[in-house]
């Protein structure tokens, strides 16, 4: 343990709210020199928020921030950078059109006295740094031409070798292959032994236990536990993460839930050996009429790509897809729609027309059916009105611009679009993300109604609660492959997390 040494970074009673919602409530956190500190917690537990405060992304918060024993306040990421803090964010943030060398030296390119960039020196040093990390690429290749995993490694390398003494890695391994993960861990251990402090956030608890010296568990914006990695187990951490007892307001799904014995109808959608570059490997499953199939996995597990393939937006490298027994190769989303597949993507911005009235947002899926050439606005409005009433969209005014509705109601409009259609297979990505309890329950009820009508429904989510509250059968996707199927058996949040 590291108690003997003094902390280089100490946070006391940190509280941070976003628009009235508290993301962090009175968190204490200390980081010592030469320590790898693992952070675990569910989505929204506050891990990333705390790290963004340390990295100067969120300058507004309450509480004390001590660096090297002195009270400090970063006004921006530049301040944090100057203080020797580097962070690799969850989302890849590289410049794909620049070369590898330029990316490694982003923001501090070596220049001569006249201010000209020393290209040869930059390429040589970038190559040396990457070689130390076991990456063998030409520093002058365009970064975007490399595979995603390699891009992520290069971004990590940039921060690791930037000379920062505090390095924060937020979900760095999601796009990495096992050998790449090994190399990363070896490098982290080496840097630690040289005295660097590292914070490592991951959903992969085995990784946390292997790489870190200390683990801190977050739940609902609070720090729940801090222990030495050697003194804990995966099971104990998961238990701490999701919590037992009366704390959660909603159904917490910590107890076993019995999935129904298969009583579903015929297979409507059948997917066989689907693969897509580094994202998916030999994914096979079927979606049955009158059944909700849940697909659970961490961010970056390939769900997003899978949903796009089902709806014809991405084309798989291999494998087959069949609707009602007929093999399909969707050349466009229009083809998928005509075959009876519908998708509600995870981002409202991506699926709705904010400047158009509600009724146009709903009727767009059925225009082909109700009008051969001329629009029939009266009929469009009537159909939309029926959906708005059925789904209790508020306010129930179909002529209102969509942008005036609340997020939860917008989400319902996205569903309404397909209910008017209706499809044979409905694919829902994160259908309840960011919703309040009431709206969540509405969506759950809508999905159950649709199931009763015989639709085959696929729910993809990174939140175990979403999958558990909706699904009759659950697949767990891990690094692009189906690793576990739960059917007709007991399932709970820890079992899902355990499998993923």
């Amino acid at each position: 343990m590291t108690q003997g040494r003094s902390a280089i970074l100490e946070l006391h009673q940190i509280t941070k709210a976003f628009g009235g919602v508290e993301a962090l409530r009175g968190v204490d956190f200390a980081l010592h020199a030469g320590e790898i500190h693992g952070l675990v917690g569910e989505n929204g537990a506050g891990k990333s928020t705390l790290m963004k405060i340390i990295a100067g992304v969120h300058p507004e918060f309450s509480g004390r921030f001590m660096l090297d024993g002195k009270e400090t306040r970063f006004r921006s990421t530049r301040d944090a950078h100057a203080a020797g803090i580097g962070m690799v964010h969850q989302e890849l943030s590289v410049a794909p059109d620049l070369t590898v060398a330029e990316n490694v030296f982003l923001g501090n390119q070596p220049t001569n006295r006249l201010g000209f960039v020393q290209w040869r020196r930059m390429a040589r040093e970038a190559g040396e740094q990457l070689a130390r990390f076991g990456i063998d690429v030409d520093p002058m290749t365009r970064l975007g031409d490399l595979p995603i995993g390699l891009q992520q490694l290069i971004e990590i390398a940039r921060v690791l070798f930037s000379g920062a003494r505090i390095i924060i890695l937020d979900e760095p391994t999601s796009a990495l292959s096992p050998p790449e993960v090994e190399r990363l861990f070896a490098t982290l251990h080496k840097l630690r032994d040289e005295g660097t402090s590292i914070v490592f956030i991951s959903h992969f608890i085995e990784d946390i236990l292997r790489v870190s010296d200390v683990v801190t568990v977050f739940r609902n914006g609070r720090k729940i536990a801090e222990t030495a990695s050697a003194d804990t187990t995966k099971g104990a951490l998961i238990e701490a993460m999701i919590g037992r007892g009366g704390e959660a307001l909603e159904h917490s799904y910590t107890d076993d839930l019995m999935l129904p014995q298969s009583s579903a109808g015929a297979a409507v959608l059948k997917v066989d050996q689907l693969s897509l570059r580094r994202s998916l490997q030999d994914v096979s499953f079927e979606a049955r009429s009158g059944e909700v199939l849940g697909i659970y996995g961490f961010m970056g597990c390939g769900q997003l790509e899978l949903s796009r393939i089902l709806f014809g937006k991405l084309r798989p490298d291999g494998g087959t897809l069949a609707v009602d027994g007929a093999a399909k190769r969707f050349r466009s989303t229009a083809a998928a729609r005509r075959a009876g597949v519908a998708l509600v993507p995870e981002s409202r911005r991506a699926m709705l027309f904010h400047q158009e009235p509600v009724y146009k947002n709903i009727s767009i899926s059925i225009l082909e059916r109700i009008s051969a050439l001329l629009l029939k606005p009266v009929r469009e409005r009537a159909i939309a009105q029926r959906q708005v009433e059925q789904l209790q969209i508020r306010p129930p005014v179909v002529g209102l611009d969509l942008g005036m509705l609340s997020g939860g109601n917008q989400q319902k409009v996205a569903l309404a679009k397909w209910l008017a259609y209706p499809p044979r297979v409905l694919v829902l990505c994160e259908p309840t993300r960011g919703m309040d309890v009431g709206a969540k329950n509405d969506v759950i009820n809508i999905v159950r109604d649709l199931r009763a009508k015989g639709l085959a429904i696929i729910v993809l989510s990174t939140e175990p609660e979403t999958v558990l509250s909706l699904a009759d059968r659950i697949l767990v996707l891990k690094r692009g492959a189906v690793v576990r199927e739960f059917a007709g058996e007991a399932v709970s949040k820890d079992r899902l997390l355990e499998a993923a």
Partner: protein
Amino acid sequence: MASSDGATARADHQRSRGLAPFLRSQMRNIAPFLTLIFLSGFFAIASPSFATIDNVGNILTQVSVTGIIAVGLTFVILCAEIDLSIASIANVTGIAVAYFTLQESYVNIANVPMPGIVAILLALALCALLGLVNALGLTMIGIPSFIMTLAMMQIAAGVSALLVRGQIAYKVPPLITTLGSGSIGGIPWIVIVAAVMLLGGHLVLTYTRFGRYVYMVGGNREAAEFAGLNVKLILGSVMVISAVCSGIGGMLGVAHFGSAQQNEFDTYLLDSIAAVVVGGTSLFGGRGGIGNTIVGLFVLGVLNNGLDHVNIDSFLKILIRGLILLAALIINVYAQRLREQAAD
């Protein structure tokens, strides 16, 4: 029901939050109209010969060719794309229709005479084909429309050059001659054609499914794809529509000017884009329409015509037109921003 009534009331309240947000959201429609009224008023006071029936007729005739070309361009810009080949396609189509018409013996062009209707159909097929090449380049290969149509601008100009080889042709089929330079009951046919095409464009955009799709693709292309629309088909279609409108404008233009030659339509590229954008159709797609284009046409028409009526350095006119265009672009961008604020 109480809560639902409350919600309705809130919605009504939101819709009529006051005049200011409404005006803000309608900025793109109001500003060009005010510009038109201001310019008309200014020239009417500055020159006694401006506000006459005859001159209104002049303005209408002067904007007709631009108007015909701008119909198709409106579709393209509504989809947040651009077509820089319109003037070149107009030129090559006008030349083609003359190429397939028997010219006088003193015209030194190796032309291939055809019956009038065949010549027209061949010319239309040519512009449709060039539009199709634009469409395939944009949708199948994925070349940005700005670059694709820039290449097409050169290609069409090249075909024009090969057909006329520096010469000038004068004859076009009688139908084209009538529509381009004839008149009925004192109204030039070309004005009628432009009016009919603008009306047709408006009807398609407002009352057909295809028109709705154009707005949806322009408003949020990703959402259109997620709604299962065939986005590529729609984008391809607007490129072909634009080329065919340009072709029609080119044929009638040749008849209107009385000759077909190289570089005859060069000014129409800027004029057509200016008409659409000055009218308030958003360069970001999804907002605007033929109504805006008509206002834009008149703003440009009144400006060009009015500057001829007041005593002004003819070289200064070019600069003034440029400044007006810049002002319209600024309004266009601000209108988008104001609307987004109004929606929040």
